[in-house]
Amino acid sequence: MITAGIDLGWKHTRVVLLEDGNKILVKKYIPTTFKLEEDAERLYNDALNDVGIKATDVDYIVATGAGRYRLKFRNANVTELTAGALGAKFLFPNTRTVIDIGTTQTRVMKIDDKGKVIKFMTNDRCAAGAGAFLERVALYTQVNLPDLGNIALQSKSPVTISTVCSVLAETEIINLLTLNTPLEDILMGAVNSIVGRVMPLIRVVGIQPEITLIGGTVLNPALIKSLSNNLKASINATMDTFYAGAIGAALLGYKRLMKVKGG
């Protein structure tokens, strides 16, 4: 039985094909443009071709992510929080806390042993745009986003950026640049400021190991380091958790099918 999870996010569109709710056949992503559906459809078809599966062989398609309602050929949709939690649980079965630092919104979820969200917090509107903030920092400092983390890790004395507002944080960074502050210290400061904004959310839901980081920021080693320093705990973050949303969606599809099949 094959189920598909499609995650239509702001920054990335992700697709996962899952067999019998336990085997990941293929996972793919592309950067999202303003053509949400087309991106998703194209990526889905590429994924099918990669593993030589016909669209008709897919038993259930679940959409998640901000654009979930835009996917016409979905059988069901679920929020990226519910899906992300399930995906994190699938990849790291002992996960109890899930952190997702998205382009516009940061979420922290406490989950039970079934991967169900018990409690969750999202950032205050005034602290929105953490992910987008890092992208813009990369923009002025003229480093590629993928390299940002590794450069930041070289920092000896990171700067402090206290403001919660990502726009004013940018102003501060521009000023640091004008003061010729070392690049790595600025970048690490920027990363720390994001982690600083996540910490209260984590405290409110209550820190409980294992902690799994999902979504775009798993590619940022500096952020993972800063996060685990602050939590005094290790963080599960792999290239797979980058796909947690899509995986969770596919898994939910499987569970739904089993239910209707009375299995």
């Binding site: 901000a66 679920v78 929020t79 990226e80 929080l81 519910t82 399930l86 516009t104 919104q105 079934k114 991967g115 169900k116 969200v117 018990i118 969750f120 999202t122 205050d124 509107r125 939910l252 569970k255």
Partner: protein, 394 residues
Amino acid sequence: MNAETKLSGPEILDYFKDVVEDAYVTFNFAKQWKEEYKMKLLGYYPVYFPEEIAYAMGVLPIKLFGGVGRIEPSEATSRFQSFTCSIPKTILQLVMSGSLDSFDALAFTNICDVARNLAFVIHRNYGNKFRVIYLHYPINNVLPSASKYMKEEYERLINELSQITGNKYDPEVLRKYIILGNRKRQILRELLEIKVNKPWNMPFDELFTVFLASMVMPVDKFVELGSKYLEYVKGRPEEKPVERIRTVILGDFCEQPPLQLFKIIEMSGAYILISDYIKNAIWIGDIDANEKDPIDAMVKAYVNNPTPLTTRYHPAINKHEFIKKYVKDMNANAVIFLTPKFCEPSLYDHMIYRLALDSIKMPYVRIDYEEGMTSFEQPRTMAETFFESLLFEL
């Protein structure tokens, strides 16, 4: 005189919708009634205003809703900073743009510092246009001096209003309007009961619309149409219930959430039973029309009211006990704190109530909103996640 008397149930709802829509920016109904009733117009800022006193003095009280997405407070932002909530800005924008020119008075009470300052900003800039009335409600309501003081405050109000209309105060007229006001609240309470008992029979936005209409219509007109509408709703065929979570909404006590937000929350898996915005419309409860001095009755109804109000401290009220009973009586399975962006009182209530809700394991989530919000995807995602976590078994 009025064609509305012959309206059918659905037509009455459409009429209410028109009345409500008109009460944001255009106020054509208000102008028309001002003529029809030969009354002066008074707009009052949420939360509570003693409408009966206004009527008794020949003044038609209209609750100000704010702009709620219908106007951009581009000039008003010159007076109020970006860290203030939306409703004072949109109401000031209405004043600046002349939308409220047909009003004779604007009334404010001590609900929060922003509303308080708005009153005097309007007075300083437009004092020649409107009589600005500011009432300070007592908070030390276990002392006899509080009632004595509040009575003086109401007499001051009566005096101010008589200066607008030239009418003399007559306790019997006030008594008449107290009876009408009680009738209005009775109708609203019965509608609310229907929603609470069988929520699938009435979408929340329908209930909300009727409540809103009651806040911006002449009380006699509402009582007439409202009671007919109530009969219609009672006679409506039953809908089929679906699997949804019985939800109580707290926090929207002043700034009005966009109707769309309520729709989205119900679509996400909820039956909304009640929200503070409509609760406050009937908060004052039954005022004793038989009291010797009807002003005393008005004062008692406020001072002794056992139900907490976000903006009123009461030494004898225990908010923890209240909220536990409240959700139990509503037979609710979830609570959503709908807090307006930058509204502090709402956030403080949330801080107090969540402690009590934790103690009875009642699930809750807090969602921010703004009058003028143009997209609802983040609240939708939060609400859906919240209800998915309550509905899905995995």
